[in-house]
Symmetry: C2
Subunit: 429 residues, 2 copies
């Protein structure tokens, strides 16, 4: 890969997500050369992917060109590349566009959908971890209703209008809420010649609680919200298979559905090349308090793919934006200290709390000090997400859309721009 | 196709473009049943496609869900369908979702790219007649520059940064201007490690004038604008072939280019089933002053696909939005008159003039009364396009983007959301 040589040490960052970007910004104008690799040329604001899938937002407004983030920093290089392998002993990274030598390597590859080895669900289910996947899901949802219009088989029609969301985490809850609002607000207008009241939204949770990472109050309130919206919640139910038509569970319960959305788990997006002993369950990389891989002092991991075990977080930090952002900043400082032969500072996570939205005027917020739910929580949720969104234009466009959607009970970005295609490889990334 | 029977006569409209939509609106709340067929579930505002290709606008903001247009009208039905054939004698339309009987049929299928039989250019060149095609072109342009970074072969690098636009009509001129602004404003920032000054934008016109449908002033002013922006204009040059690497012309002139955009012609998007005698050159349907196909009094054609020969327009009306919109309205009235056994009114075209934009503060406007160019023309162009854009949200989002792009000299929607894929059938529609 033709990156110019530099007298400065070269830091290679794999991944332009929350972690990689915050790290890069921290390294700005320092005496280092930074090479950022990503398989997309844009940063994705993952918390709003579900709004792309459900027509609330344009994909372009939650993505941001990575080159634009780096453009003000000399000595920064971006390459659109897929990383195949790392060679720690050779200090090199092998990609589809060539091999690259590094002095320091940072793995910020994030996470990917975890099907827990169920290849049938992986093949027939939908996931929503990237913009292409979200657009594919949007197409499928819209095409299902067009299809429902055409069939006289009531069975088939119900299956086309039956949505099964597996996983009661924030993604599942937010998606279920959005689909319920579409059923209520848009389908009757869009499909007057279809009995859209028969549309079903099912949220399936393997254990006894949705939003189980959040407080009891948040969980129970979110349940109320969802039930008010007409979402059927199935707790203590584990989905065991899906052949594209029928979803089976550990009990006798089954769902005839044309759309199963798998939001039941994520795992670290590992890169080949590390020893098993550096890895932990869930495809995460074991790092010390400096986000450093023990075996290789010049290799680091941050964000979802990193697992920093501590007393307070025996299973590592939650796989969310905040730990990634904070680890990126911390590592940025530490890399400079390392290069300057100063002792590194251990990472400490500042838990700012967590939140989830169910629908208009309905959100739940857990702050370290206090918890609240409802309208105010919903406005807080919107403000926080607008604030963390990268780019002034994105904020403006998202704001315009949200105001419009709120006032008009509408979601206009419901276009089948590409026909749904489950096998189209570009979607699966 | 399961459209409910109705005591009202059934009007089937093929195509949800400017013509089909304006006709449908005119038929609202009349005693007719309207079935609108389109292969997309959205209306495309074609005049702004070039801004999608060049990252200035999100695709969603120039498209509008057709169902949303029709939702307020009882007795209106939309079906997402591709029409294969019409059977005038049987009064039926054959589509991929079944056969449909009509009492009145309106062909509003618009136009498609005309390669004049050159299958090599059709295979290797890019066209820009739909949103998927525009997004595909956007991906190609962006990927070319990423690719240019990777090669050490100066020849190849130049070819990757060399854009050849064939056709000096509004589309070609507007695209050339937009690419020139990207070269000037964005590439140097995005690709500091690439000599983007070597990027070339070539506009090739077969005859002696660009914008030849417009006034001499408009043409020459547009030329000045383009040349100021660094676009190379090749007049009286006919492109004869393109193998994906080398574009040949009728002279010795050749272009080594990875991107040839064909904007040199359109033809009517014909549907199988009419007799040759009802057709004219350029794939257009001969209609009388009532937009009626002589041979079949209950079949009509409007917009680009229709050719209404008159003294003033011996070759039919220009293939633009205005004639389509006006013909749609006129036909709406005439269909009602026809059903009520009243005499139809001949269509007369009100030429509101035409305009084209070259870049920021640079546009040319020909009005029937007077002509002007420059900053004011550019603001008029923007105002008119915002005005004709369907949907309040679209107007808002486009406005926000334009203001942002103007103030920041930027175009942020430059994401490779789908990898470029010339053979991906969904793009070619």
């Amino acid at each position: 890969m033709n990156i110019p040589r530099s007298s400065y040490p070269r830091i290679v960052i794999i991944g332009g997500g929350f972690g990689g970007i915050s790290l890069a910004k921290k390294l700005a104008h320092k005496e280092v050369q930074v090479v950022l690799l990503d398989k997309h040329n844009y940063h994705t604001f993952q918390p709003l992917l579900y709004q792309v899938s459900t027509g609330g937002l344009e994909p372009d407004s939650i993505a941001y060109p990575i080159r634009k983030v780096l453009k003000d920093y000399p000595n920064f290089f971006f390459r659109l590349a897929e990383v195949f392998q790392i060679h720690p002993e050779k200090k090199s990274v092998v990609t589809n566009i060539g091999t690259l030598h590094y002095d320091y390597l940072v793995l910020a590859t994030g996470s990917e959908t975890n099907y827990f080895g169920n290849s049938e669900i992986e093949k027939n289910g939908m996931s929503m971890k990237s913009i292409p996947e979200s657009l594919n899901l949007r197409s499928l949802i819209l095409e299902n209703f067009e299809q429902a219009l055409l069939t006289d088989d009531l069975h088939e029609r119900d299956a086309l209008m039956n949505f099964v969301i597996v996983g009661g985490g924030p993604t599942g809850v937010e998606l279920a809420g959005a689909l319920a609002e579409i059923k209520k607000g848009i389908l009757p207008k869009d499909y007057p010649d279809l009995d859209t009241r028969r549309a079903q939204i099912n949220l399936v949770q393997s254990n006894g609680r949705i939003l189980k990472e959040m407080s009891e109050e948040a969980s129970s309130k979110a349940e109320d919200f969802l039930e008010k919206l007409g979402v059927q919640i199935w707790k203590n139910t584990r989905v065991t298979g899906y052949d594209g038509k029928l979803a089976t569970t550990a009990t006798e319960l089954t769902f005839e559905t044309a759309t199963l959305i798998w939001a039941a788990g994520v795992k670290g997006a590992l890169v080949q090349g590390l020893d098993a002993k550096d890895l932990l369950s869930g495809g995460r990389i074991r790092v010390n308090e400096f986000n450093q891989v023990e075996a290789w002092p010049n290799i680091f991991a941050i964000g979802d793919v990193a697992c920093l075990v501590s007393e307070k977080y025996p299973r590592g930090h939650p796989m969310m934006a905040q730990p990634a952002i904070q680890q990126g900043r911390s590592l940025g400082e530490n890399l400079i200290r390392l290069i300057e032969d100063k002792p590194m500072k251990p990472f400490s996570y500042w838990d700012k709390g967590s939140m989830a939205t169910v629908g208009r005027n309905k959100a739940v917020v857990d702050l370290p000090k206090f918890k609240f739910q409802g309208v105010f929580a919903w406005f807080v949720w919107m403000f926080v997400h607008l604030f963390f969104l990268i780019g002034f234009r994105n904020r403006m466009v998202v704001f315009v859309n949200w105001v419009y959607n709120y006032v008009r009970f509408d979601r206009e970005a419901r276009l089948i721009i590409r026909p749904f295609n489950k096998d189209y490889s570009a979607f699966k990334d």
